[in-house]
Symmetry: C2
Subunit: 374 residues, 2 copies
């Protein structure tokens, strides 16, 4: 999975100019900003905040999470706080969310940490890394295993306070017009796959491509790419990938349980009275689970439709290909951790938790599921 | 897992007399009850509610969930609503929670639905049944697959509104002083195991026993029972079972992902203004995830300590024993569903969701975990 809206160079310049104009306009015209009350939070004052996202407005799953957070906050605060949610490109580009919240032009954002790997490489561990933590495991690491403290520490220099805000569950490897029967079939494969997953593909001889979600269907249909990953059946069905590709491969080794994030400008956060802070944290925690519930309930139905109605061929990646990907992934992550002390500290905490929790899962949920399926 | 506090017959009579006295006293003396405002909820009125539980006060995991719900509600409502949490036996017996909330003597309760199987047999599906749904799967069924609507429908005649309120994750099969090498070893085995799990053991030739948690250690040590299940490493370590039994068996086929419940008296619920209702629902949803995070993070550490420090022998149940348990479980559940229309409707919804979600999990999270562990 990756955000909609990756751009070509000329578009990027254009969009950033628009974004800059909006930013200047917003800062100069802002009179509803609550940062002016930073010194003395009021229990009665009304707060009208703006939230920018990396997703199309009301996009199923990903895009609905911030809408639900906004609804819950307004209801729980009995109208004291409202949050207006903007889709990608409405006020800032899909990948301008981090900067918008950091600068304070917008109090809130909803996105995925691995989009900021250029600025904060360690942020990737709080979304998903290849062969990493599943949804339950990353929840446990972040909320109860020391992860959240590290996450807040690494975002603090950017004046951002992060809260875990949704998970898609294990994704699919994606849509292919070429069969993958061995490592040889990876050589020269042009696939849309961002982040560390893309680096792994490259190391195995493939050609990773970055394209926005909205361009994937045409690129796949015209043969510009041989394959693409996106999210999973529920989201993939709406994009109609089954009309442009033949094989649907699993497992999603590259994104086992990506956690989304709510970003809050720290000055804006400090301006809130305590009860509104707890309302935001709790609403977001509830939505973190709700998104996973939604994907899990809907992925079922969508996969059945893809196979039974649209004749999609479901394929498993060959074992030797997965094994090679795993070896390369581990090397890339080990090398990344050597880059600086911060990444090393986060990776160390992540890896220790992963080793423990995966050992425990083997004798609890995994062993149970095996016994149920026999 | 089962609640602390199962009683011998004479004790039950005594406890119910005490409970009845408290009930009469409470109803006659109640002046803080909010049910009197049922007609016109006030936005300003203070609400001071009482919550009874089936767990010892502040018991790790299970007992901390209602405490956290109470804290969140007080903070989010900025003190408008407070909830006082009582441990089992403080105001009503562990298994008197459902009746206390139903009668309105207490506005809220925290417990597990399978304790009420005598009154509401279908309630068991909303906690856990053998070879049933895991934690993520039951969340998805209840919140996004039609389960919650059914649950509320079957509790409504008892004047109770349920909200999902925590999950322990897959439990362990438990502590044994006899090795289980074949089905023969189940014959005559005296094991503390409640609910449908106990019925399965009986059908396989074992002798299921019901005892409160606090009596398990002594019963195991003195040979009154040969084995006991409880929860998992985090809770089991605190009870010291490793000092009374030799083998620790998995997987927990009988409780793959038990969901706990917050029970609310419907008249009390209707007396609340909307923002407090949303605050309670959202706090409980956040705690539902928090409990699973806690168990997942702590079970790791506890299991390692049990094995490395206390020399516990971790054992897997033989395949043929699991297979026999699965066959018996399916038959018992099928027979149960034939008892009446309500159970049949719930079981039908549960089974359809289980078949779909387990098929999907096989090609997503399960396939991923397999590829990670190789």
């Amino acid at each position: 999975m990756a955000g909609n809206g990756l751009c070509k160079p000329r578009e990027i310049v254009m969009r950033y100019l628009i974004y800059l104009s909006i930013l200047i306009f917003t800062v100069s015209c802002s009179n509803a900003s609550s940062t002016s009350e930073a010194i003395k939070p009021s229990k009665e004052e009304k707060y009208n905040w703006r939230l920018v996202t990396s997703w199309p407005k009301n996009y199923p799953g990903l895009g609905m999470a911030p809408e639900r957070i906004a609804d819950l906050v307004e209801e729980m605060s009995d109208g004291q706080m409202t949050i207006t949610v903007y889709g990608a490109e409405e006020q800032v580009p899909a990948f301008g969310v981090f900067d918008a919240v950091s600068s304070g032009s917008h109090q809130m954002g909803h996105s995925g940490g691995y989009f900021w790997k250029g600025k904060v490489p360690a942020a990737q561990f709080f979304t998903s890394v290849p062969f990493g933590l599943t949804a339950d495991e990353i929840n446990a690491w972040v909320n109860r295993g020391g992860g959240l403290e590290l996450w807040r520490e690494i975002y603090a220099p950017f004046n951002i306070y992060p809260i875990p805000a949704g998970n898609t569950g294990t994704q699919m490897f994606g849509w292919f017009n070429k069969e993958i029967n061995s490592l040889e079939d990876i050589k020269g494969l042009k696939m849309r796959i961002p982040g560390i997953g893309g680096e792994v593909l490259k190391e195995a001889g493939g050609i990773p491509v970055t394209l926005p979600g909205g361009e994937l269907f045409t690129a796949l249909q015209t043969g510009v790419i041989d394959a693409t990953e996106w999210v999973g059946p529920y989201n993939d069905l709406t994009f109609g990938f089954h009309q442009a590709a033949k094989y649907y491969y699993y497992p999603g080794w590259h994104e086992p349980g990506p956690m989304l994030e709510l970003l809050i400008n720290i000055d804006a956060w400090n301006s809130l009275p305590n009860h509104l802070q707890v309302i935001i944290e709790t609403a977001t925690k509830a939505v973190n689970q709700d998104m996973l519930d939604e994907y899990l309930a809907k992925n079922n139905q969508a996969l059945t439709e893809l196979i039974e109605v649209h004749g999609v061929e479901l394929r498993k990646l060959p074992d030797d290909v997965i094994e090679e990907f795993r070896k390369i992934s581990n090397k890339i992550l080990d090398d990344l951790a050597k880059e600086d002390e911060v990444i090393s500290k986060v990776y160390d905490s992540y890896l220790k938790f992963k080793n423990n929790v995966s050992a425990y899962h083997q004798i609890s949920e995994d062993a149970f599921v095996e016994s149920r399926n026999k």
